[in-house]
Each structure stands twice: as structure tokens, then as C-alpha cells.
């Protein structure tokens, strides 16, 4: 059996590793290479060393984008996880107890499907949908109603201090369904006896949630946090399609991917855009490593 083991293993690994190297690792590494040049995307690039990175330091829109990622990084996971947990709890254990087994609220099977709908839609379609929802005049979904009621329209994407939150709301709306399903699966694997025992001791629903569900769901939460954090470093499609003036007004909703896109494909500064890409790469990696380290704690065996 030992004989010929390596040719066998190598034979199996060759194709996937080659594909991975060519289509994943190579472009990554090439971004590092291009970020050191002044490539305009047409003829041969010239080496400029760390010039592009020096330029990043006093680029206002770059720092604005980084700041927005900070906001997204806090708001997106917190809001999404809170809402998803609440829904998942109601769907799984929020209802009455039947024969000692906790049930979801009435109609929970139906809600579970409905919550998952946004996840099925392509991001670009969601962005276009929300253009209709947020439209600032009488043909907008929200403002149409407000104006019928004689109220002033809310300028969702136009007011600089409201625009980013309008974008975050879309991201949350889209993400919640997936995490409801994720948390539901996690809750389903918590043994019913634990709830039963807690209930016999007189625990209310709130206590059940905080003392039983949450600690036993810790691993799933951690995964959700990392996923959402990485999603917070993206947000490109929604911002590109939905925001006013591509990341506006006046850069109020811009994100790094938007700036990368603009520098590469509008200004033809591929070298500088790659430097931004490299910065984004390190930000994402740092975040993932930090989260996994900070949230490390003994998981409960059951």
C-alpha cells in the first residue's frame, strides 16, 4: 500500500493546485507586483517602488473609505447578528412548549422561507430594487407613501449623514436571511432536554435566550462575525449601483473597492489601484486573524 503513495497523491493534487495557483494565487501576487509600478493598463509598466503607497498616505478618499469600513465593520455584524438571532430564536424556540418540546412561533416554517428570499436575489438586482425603494420623489416606494400623507420626502441617499446608513440597511436586509438559517441550524443541534430542564427551574424566554441559547451557539456566532466582517470590507456592488455619484454625495458612502474601481477603470491608474488592493488585502487578513484570536474561548461540549 505504501508503494506509489506519492505519485498517487501528487496525481490527485496536481490539477486543483495548478488551477488554484493560476487563478487565485497568481493574480494576488501580481497585484503586489503591479502596485510597485505606474502601469496604465496599456503598455509596459515602469517600476516606481513604494511611490504608490506613499501617495496613499495623503489621499483623502482612501482614508474616507477606510473610515467607512470601520463603521461597516461595527454596524453590519452587530445589527445583522442581533436581528438574525432574534428571528432564529422566535422561529425555533420562541413559541409554546408542546409535549415538553419547545416550538417556534406559529407559521415559523413559512417565515423561514420568506427570510431567505433576499439571499436568492443577485446583489445587483437588490441594488436596483432599492433604487426604487429609496427614490427621492413621488415615484419612490417609501417617499411615494410619505408624500401622499403630506409629509416631506426623506432624501435617503442624498443627505450625507444618512446615505451610508441607508446603504448599511440594504446590506443588513440582504444578509439577515442567511444568518437566520445558520443560527436555526445551530439552535436545532442544542438538545431539547437543556431547555426543558431550564424551564422546570422557572426560566423565562429571555433567560433561556441569554443563559442557554447564546452560550451554546458561540461557535456559530464566531463564524457569522468573521463572514460579516469580510462582507463589510466589500459592499462594492451595492455602493456602485445604489449610491449617488459613485460613492457620493462627496464620498459619503465610498468604500475601498469603489476607489479601486475608480482609479483603475476611470483614471487608468492600475498601479495605484493595485496598491489600494494590497492595503485592502492586509486589512481583511488582519481583521480575520484578530477576530479568530479574540473570540477564542472554551466551547461548551454537549
Amino acid at each position: 500500500m505504501r508503494h506509489g503513495k506519492y505519485p498517487f497523491v501528487i496525481g490527485f493534487l496536481f490539477a486543483p493546485v495548478t488551477l488554484y495557483v493560476v487563478f487565485v494565487i497568481a493574480p494576488y501576487a501580481q497585484a503586489f507586483q503591479i502596485s510597485m509600478t505606474n502601469w496604465r493598463g496599456l503598455s509596459a509598466p515602469q517600476w516606481v517602488g513604494f511611490d504608490n503607497y506613499r501617495r496613499l498616505l495623503d489621499d483623502g478618499s482612501f482614508w474616507k473609505a477606510v473610515q467607512h469600513h470601520g463603521v461597516l465593520l461595527l454596524a453590519l455584524p452587530l445589527i445583522t447578528i442581533a436581528i438574525a438571532l432574534f428571528f432564529a430564536f422566535l422561529l425555533n424556540v420562541g413559541g409554546r412548549s408542546v409535549g415538553g418540546q419547545r416550538q417556534g412561533v406559529a407559521g415559523s416554517k413559512f417565515y423561514r422561507v420568506v427570510f431567505f428570499f433576499p439571499q436568492v436575489l443577485a446583489v445587483a438586482i437588490i441594488a436596483v430594487l432599492f433604487q426604487m425603494v429609496y427614490r427621492p420623489n413621488e415615484s419612490g416606494l417609501i417617499n411615494g407613501v410619505l408624500m401622499k400623507l403630506g409629509l416631506d420626502p426623506v432624501l435617503f441617499l442624498i443627505r450625507p449623514n444618512l446615505a451610508l446608513w441607508s446603504i448599511i440597511a440594504v446590506l443588513v436586509w440582504q444578509a439577515v436571511g442567511f444568518y437566520v438559517v445558520l443560527f436555526s441550524a445551530g439552535m436545532a443541534s442544542i438538545p431539547g432536554e437543556i431547555y426543558e430542564a431550564a424551564e422546570m427551574d422557572g426560566a423565562t424566554r429571555v433567560t433561556l435566550f441569554f443563559r442557554v441559547t447564546l452560550p451554546l451557539l458561540w461557535d456559530t456566532l464566531q463564524v457569522a462575525w468573521v463572514y460579516l466582517g469580510i462582507a463589510a470590507f466589500d459592499a462594492f456592488a451595492i455602493v456602485a449601483v445604489l449610491s449617488v455619484d459613485s460613492g457620493g454625495p462627496d464620498g459619503a458612502t465610498t468604500v475601498l473597492a469603489m476607489e479601486i474601481y475608480r482609479n483603475a477603470f476611470v483614471y487608468s491608474k492600475y498601479g495605484y489601484a493595485s496598491a489600494m488592493g494590497v492595503a485592502l488585502f492586509f486589512l481583511t487578513i488582519t481583521f480575520a486573524a484578530l477576530t479568530l484570536r479574540l473570540t477564542k474561548r472554551e466551547s461548551v461540549e454537549y
Binding site: 501576487a29 429609496y134 455619484d245 459613485s246 454625495p249 487608468s268 498601479g271
Partner: protein, 478 residues
């Protein structure tokens, strides 16, 4: 046999890490190889251009059987004018040549890789939202110098050079640092558009002076119609165009020349400030706040529904809106009104230029064929055919004679004639895309009341200064 672990399950974390690192090293090797091809387009790789013998019928020396690839932007003008008019003309002159036609709505997506790999098509209509930045193309030496074309005898009259058959300013519009690289083919006039029917029905007349203009806007507002508006979401440059046109009328055409040449303090000239202040007031009083969140198609549709009176644009507007315009709407152009009696240029002055850019790739196989294709486009037959298909005038003077234009283009052509010598143009947006982006953002800030005229001038000036100091940006002068 020695270093092989006895049991694969015992493969420790350390050895695994070591192997991953080794794989990484291998990958790096592969990358430098790949890197070499993705960003190549090297100088020595340039293909040898095909060349034939020059003659009276073939003044540009085209090799008569060399194939020609034509890429057309399939936008507002479509692609029919190329397949039905220009390509047959070329084919008639060179029956042995094979023409490969391609059309796209995303020019840079399709062509950027071709330039990067050193195999560009001969003739390109570089236009639309995804055009390739002309400044970068010129700076990288990708474009064929068109001097030979402009000096060649024209198709219709061998005693007349091609440059003498077009509207004055056409060659300059496509020049970078004095060298012609781009053919701008469609005559374009900019102004403020209104519906002839709406104005006739209400007894309104277009304004010549600023006081007439504001009085008119008040009357329109009283009628419950939004007096003035542009689309902030994606077309703010329609409005900076109005502000700068106004600045040129106030302070003379040198105002724009200074801006294009990135002169110190060009954006803080008095004329620019006055124009910005005047339009900021229009923004505050007469523009609906919701327009900042609307796209140009939305706003243009509102005008077609008689909910908006004035809309700034170029004269492609009428063709673009053909499907949504109600019968009898009658697009009309009004030049930007003069601010005061001390304006340097008269009220009739306006911005006009040649639009819709075409170029020949210097590094393609048959660049002379590309030049000849342009010469055919600039023949009377080529221009007339284009005008008949797309209903827009070309830069060829003899091309639009006797053609009955629809009301909007007729009115802009009339305004162009009335302007006489007082026609000007600006170039900075094509030369420095970053400055265009900044001007758009600042225009929204100004028109929707978040900054004043001084701050408007200051922030764009700051970006202009940064670009003028940036050694990585190719500079142009006129």
C-alpha cells in the same frame, strides 16, 4: 525512505506548514512568468505596419488587401452608420480588403486586454461610459498621429486638403499638446434645452439676460413646474459645463484656456467665482432637491412629461429622448444667458465642439488602412450617410447641407450660426479624468447648497494643483 513519515495521519502541523510554504514558493515562480504576459505589450513586440504604394487614388499608401478591424461603440448613434455607410465606402475603394466589424457597449472591457497584449484593432470608436482614457492612450503612444490624414487630399476634391473640408476647430479638438490624435466626428452644441410647445402655450420667451432668466424661472415656478434641473446621481458634468460656459462668457475664452492648462489659480478666477455664485442661487431657489438622487434618464423623462422646464445638455439630447418625447414637444436650445452688460462675450456665444471620438491604433497591423477609413468617413458621401442614419450633423461642412434636421438639432445649428466667431470649447475633462470627477462632486455640493462659490472654486483648485504636481499624470497644453 528516510524522511517519509511512517503514518500519513501523523503528518504534523509543522511539516504541513513547511509544505504549504514550499508550495507558495513554487507559486511565486509561476507568477513572475504569468506577470510577464499580463502586463507585456513590450516595445519590440510591435508588429510591422502594412504599407502599400501611394497614388492619387490612394494618397495614404494603403496596402489594398490588408484586412481592417473596426470597433464601434454601440450607443446613442448605434452601429448601423458604420456597417451601412462607412464600411461599404472603404470596401468600394479597396475591394480586396477584408473588414472585420465589431461593436460593443463597453469599449475598455473589450479592448484594454488587446492593447495590453500589443494586438489592438486598427480603428476604434472610443466613446460611452466605459471609454478608454484618451490621455493615457496618448501618453502610452498607442494612437496614430493624424497629421498625414488632415494633410491628405480629400476624397471629393483632390485640390482640397481634408483639414479644409471640416468645421474649424475639429483638428484642435482632437489634439494633444498640438498633435492631432483623435478624430471627433459629430458636431455638438451645448446649451439649455426647453420645450417649444410648453413655452408657446404659456407665452414664455427664452431669456437673454440674467434678470430675464430669473424672472422667467419665477413665472415657471408659480405654474407648479420645476424651473431648472440636472441629474446629480450620474450627470453632474452637464451642470459644471453650464457654469464654465457662463464663466467663459463673463471673462472671455482665456478663462477656460487657463483651466485646461492647469494654470495657478485658474479655478479661482473672478469669472468662475461669479458664475458659480450665480448658479448656486439658481440651485437654491429653482432646483428640486430630489434631483441630486436621480439619473439623467429620470430627469430627462420629467422634462418630456412637462414637469421640468429647463435642462442643460448637448444636442444629442433630442435623439436620445426620441422614444419618450411626446408629439409636438419640440426641443429648443437657449444659450446660457449673459450675467451682466460687462460680459466679455455676447449672449449668443456658446460652447460647441466636435464629439464622438475615433482613433487609429499606432501599434495595429494596418494603421494606414485606419487612416484611409477616416478619410472615407470625412468624404461628403460618408458624412451625408451618417447624418441620414443618425440624424446628427457631422464636422464635414458639406455633409449636412440641405438636410432637414428635427427641431432640436435645427435650433442648435441655428444657434451655432448665430454665435458666429464666439464659439469656444474646453478640454480638461478628457485630459484629466480626476479633475472631472472632482468638478462633478463639487458641482453637486454647490448646486444643492452644501458649499458656497468660494469653497467650490477652492476645492477644485486644490485638486488641479495636486494633478499639476503629480508626476505620474501626463500633462497637456493648448
Amino acid at each position: 525512505m528516510s524522511i517519509t513519515p511512517d503514518n500519513p495521519a501523523e503528518l504534523s502541523r509543522r511539516t504541513l506548514l513547511g509544505r504549504t510554504a514550499a508550495a507558495g514558493l513554487l507559486a511565486t515562480g509561476a507568477v513572475s512568468l504569468l506577470g510577464a504576459c499580463a502586463t507585456s505589450g513590450s516595445e519590440e513586440g510591435a508588429t510591422k505596419a502594412e504599407e502599400g504604394t501611394k497614388s492619387a487614388a490612394n494618397p495614404l499608401g494603403v496596402k489594398d488587401d490588408a484586412p481592417l478591424e473596426v470597433v464601434i461603440f454601440n450607443g446613442g448613434y448605434g452601429e448601423k452608420y458604420a456597417t451601412d455607410v462607412h464600411e461599404p465606402l472603404y470596401k468600394k475603394a479597396f475591394p480586396k480588403a477584408e473588414i472585420k466589424h465589431q461593436s460593443t457597449q463597453a469599449v475598455s472591457t473589450v479592448l484594454q486586454p488587446r492593447f495590453a497584449s500589443g494586438n489592438p484593432p486598427e480603428f476604434v470608436n472610443n466613446s460611452g461610459e466605459k471609454l478608454i482614457d484618451f490621455g493615457s492612450l496618448v501618453a502610452d503612444g498607442q494612437l496614430m498621429n493624424l497629421t498625414e490624414l488632415w494633410d491628405a487630399p480629400s476624397v471629393d476634391d483632390p485640390n482640397k486638403k481634408v483639414r479644409d473640408t471640416v468645421v474649424p476647430g475639429t483638428v484642435e479638438a482632437g489634439s494633444f499638446n498640438g498633435k492631432p490624435y483623435v478624430l471627433y466626428y459629430v458636431s455638438t452644441v451645448f446649451g439649455i434645452w426647453y420645450s417649444g410647445k410648453l413655452f408657446r402655450d404659456n407665452g414664455w420667451a427664452p431669456a437673454k439676460t440674467w434678470s430675464e432668466f430669473t424672472a422667467l424661472l419665477d413665472k415657471i415656478k408659480a405654474k407648479g413646474i420645476t424651473p431648472y434641473g440636472y441629474a446629480g446621481a450620474n450627470a453632474a458634468y452637464y451642470q459644471w459645463n453650464v457654469i464654465l460656459t457662463h464663466a467663459a462668457k463673463i471673462g472671455g475664452t482665456d478663462v477656460l484656456k487657463n483651466i485646461d492648462n492647469l494654470e495657478d489659480g485658474a479655478w479661482q478666477q473672478d469669472a468662475v467665482k461669479q458664475a458659480a455664485a450665480a448658479w448656486a442661487e439658481i440651485g437654491a431657489k429653482y432646483v428640486d432637491k430630489s434631483f441630486e438622487g436621480l439619473k439623467h434618464t429620470d430627469v430627462q423623462l420629467r422634462q418630456n412629461q412637462y414637469k421640468l422646464a429647463f435642462y442643460p445638455s448637448g444636442d444629442w439630447l433630442e435623439g436620445e429622448q426620441k422614444k419618450d418625447t411626446p408629439a409636438g414637444f419640440e426641443y429648443q436650445l437657449m444659450p446660457v444667458p449673459s450675467l451682466s452688460a460687462s460680459d466679455k462675450l455676447p449672449a449668443t456665444a456658446l460652447r460647441a465642439t466636435a464629439g464622438e471620438g475615433y482613433f487609429v491604433s499606432a501599434k495595429s497591423k494596418n494603421p494606414r488602412g485606419g487612416l484611409e477609413y477616416m478619410r472615407q468617413m470625412l468624404s461628403v458621401a460618408g458624412a451625408k450617410g451618417f447624418t441620414e442614419v443618425v440624424k446628427a450633423p457631422t464636422v464635414v461642412t458639406a455633409g449636412s447641407e440641405g438636410f432637414a434636421f428635427p427641431p432640436g438639432v435645427a435650433s442648435s445649428q441655428g444657434a451655432l450660426k448665430a454665435a458666429g466667431q464666439d464659439v469656444f470649447n474646453l478640454y480638461f475633462d478628457g485630459w484629466y479624468k480626476e479633475l472631472d470627477t472632482e468638478a462633478r462632486t463639487a458641482t453637486n455640493e454647490l448646486m444643492f447648497g452644501r458649499i458656497n462659490a468660494d469653497a467650490f472654486c477652492e476645492r477644485i483648485q486644490k485638486r488641479a494643483d495636486a494633478i499639476s504636481k503629480d508626476s505620474s499624470v501626463a500633462k497637456f497644453k493648448r
